[in-house]
């Protein structure tokens, strides 16, 4: 069964999702990668406002290719999430509700997700041309000097995602691999 969601997300929605759930995400999300995360932390340290209010928001770890004329956005797939791990617990404490990326998260992130009620989605890494078709608008809202790493507001229409880590700490990578390996051994026996 596929669950349709619209960002921003409430804590209740985030807590209701389970690792392995298939999701189609619509609504508004923000892109931020390594450099933007460093700057967001600096803002928080100095008590300055962030480019967007974090409460309930979803960050997509992505830096698209330049926008071709006549299209809303260039190719846009996820980048490796673990590089954002150092900054993530702080952002979660400030209300961040969801993250979209690829690959595993560290234990400190998972603990913070459980505490604050947040969800981590995996997008299909490398399926960037296909995902461009799920973005209806893209606007740079901060730090244009960072080029592909600037913060952009995206409007999504049915972006296909999997709940990779849920707010109870459930992990779709470990579960999926174990289920496959169990089935593979059954076939051999």
């Amino acid at each position: 069964m596929t669950i349709r969601l619209t960002a921003p997300l409430t804590e209740e929605t985030a807590r209701s999702l389970r690792a392995g759930d298939q999701v189609l995400l619509s609504g508004e999300v923000y892109t931020a990668r390594d450099a933007a995360h460093l700057r967001m932390l600096e803002c928080l340290e100095k008590g300055e406002p962030l480019p967007f209010e974090l409460e309930g928001q979803v960050i997509y770890y992505a830096g698209p290719t330049p926008t071709p004329s006549g299209r809303p956005v260039g190719s846009i797939g996820p980048t490796t999430s673990v590089r954002m791990d150092a900054a993530t617990p702080t952002l979660l404490a400030h209300g961040l509700r969801g993250m979209i990326g690829k690959g595993l998260r560290g234990p400190a992130v998972v603990e913070a997700m459980k505490k604050h009620g947040a969800v981590y989605f995996a997008a299909v890494g490398g399926a960037a041309a296909l995902m461009a078709a799920c973005v209806t608008s893209c606007e740079v809202i901060a730090w244009d000097d960072l080029g592909p790493e600037s913060v952009k507001r995206l409007t999504l229409k049915d972006l296909p995602l999997v709940v990779a880590v849920d707010a109870c700490g459930g992990d779709a990578f470990a579960q999926g691999q174990a289920a496959y390996l169990a089935s593979a051994t059954n076939v051999k026996e």
């Binding site: 450099a35 992505a62 830096g63 698209p64 290719t65 330049p66 926008t67 071709p68 260039g74 190719s75 846009i76 797939g77 980048t79 490796t80 673990v82 690829k102 690959g103 595993l104 995996a122 299909v124 890494g125 490398g126 399926a127 960037a128 041309a129 296909l130 995902m131 461009a132 078709a133 960072l146 080029g147 592909p148 790493e149 296909p160 999997v162 779709a172 990578f173 579960q175 999926g176 691999q177 174990a178 289920a179 496959y180 390996l181 089935s183 593979a184 076939v187």
Partner: protein, 279 residues
């Protein structure tokens, strides 16, 4: 002496990088098809179908297959009877600049590794040049994404560790990489040489046909065995479980020192791009 104008090199390089980023090479597409037919796990099949559709959309809409259009790696084989009119490396960098600006590819290069300011045009390229007999110039463009590059490893093993040590090192690299390099992966393995040449061997191995095999039956068997072992880990497409962890693994070797056994694993992904032209 045959003369080749620097401007011809610039044009060739620009074309190679734009096309390489929009069209998956045939060997990778073949390996994906084959993996799809051999994949027994339904969720994994679903992901492989998305990847195939993505490659089709990119080709049709002239969009990059992946948003990480990579650091621009160029392998050049320069015939020793070729005279290049102009500055060879400047011509390559200019080709890269044109490809990434005019071809709407992502600029993913910072000019300094610690001070990190984007160069704005994806230059400089990483250029590997070799002098070969003849009067031709062969250029291979291999844009390399860093989600997978970051998972690559180099080990200076001892001779006593032998084949077993190499196998363990490759599998350990794959396990550490897990879901990060957008599996299904492609693996380039270098064995032998010295510290820096083994890494170059591994990168060069990623430009070989992913579904080909080493001409030496000993290493062809090792390629098959390693691929089998990687595909038994259960990591699967995107790390969500399945058989298809790796589309292909190629080995390149060279002589080494009596005291050493260098091994390097260059991790790549289902968007392994390489495109060659001979001038």
């Amino acid at each position: 002496m045959r003369e080749i104008q620097a401007s011809a090199i610039t044009e060739a390089v620009a074309e190679l990088f734009v096309t390489a980023n929009r069209e998956l090479p045939e060997d990778v597409a073949r390996a994906m098809e084959r993996a799809r037919t051999e994949e027994p796990w339904a969720p994994a099949c679903g992901i492989l179908d998305i990847l195939r559709e993505n490659a089709d959309i990119a080709r049709r809409d002239r969009m990059p297959v992946c948003q990480d259009t990579g650091m621009a790696v160029v392998f050049a084989e320069v015939g020793q009877e070729v005279h290049i009119a102009g500055d060879f490396e400047a011509a390559v960098h200019e080709g890269v600049r044109r490809a990434y600006t005019e071809g709407l590819l992502r600029k993913s290069v910072v000019g300094d590794p610690l001070r990190r300011v984007n160069t704005g045009d994806n230059t400089p390229a990483v250029i590997h040049t070799r002098l070969v007999p003849g009067d031709r110039l062969t250029l291979t463009a291999a844009p390399k994404g860093f989600g997978s590059e970051n998972m690559s490893r180099l080990g200076m093993l001892t001779p006593a560790q032998g084949v077993r040590g190499v196998k363990d090192f490759v599998l350990e690299t794959v396990r550490i990489a897990g879901a990060n390099p957008c599996p299904p992966m492609v693996l380039g393995v270098g064995i032998g040489g010295d510290f820096e040449s083994v890494a170059e061997l591994a990168k060069r191995a990623l430009t070989l046909p992913v579904d080909g095999s080493n001409p030496d039956p000993f290493y062809a068997a090792l390629e098959r065995e390693l691929l089998e072992a990687v595909n038994a880990t259960g990591i699967g497409p995107q790390g969500l479980g399945g058989r298809t962890t790796c589309l292909g693994l190629r080995i390149l070797t060279m002589a080494t020192h009596i005291a050493g056994l260098p091994v390097a694993v260059n991790v790549s992904c289902h968007v392994t791009r390489h495109r060659t032209v001979t001038l």
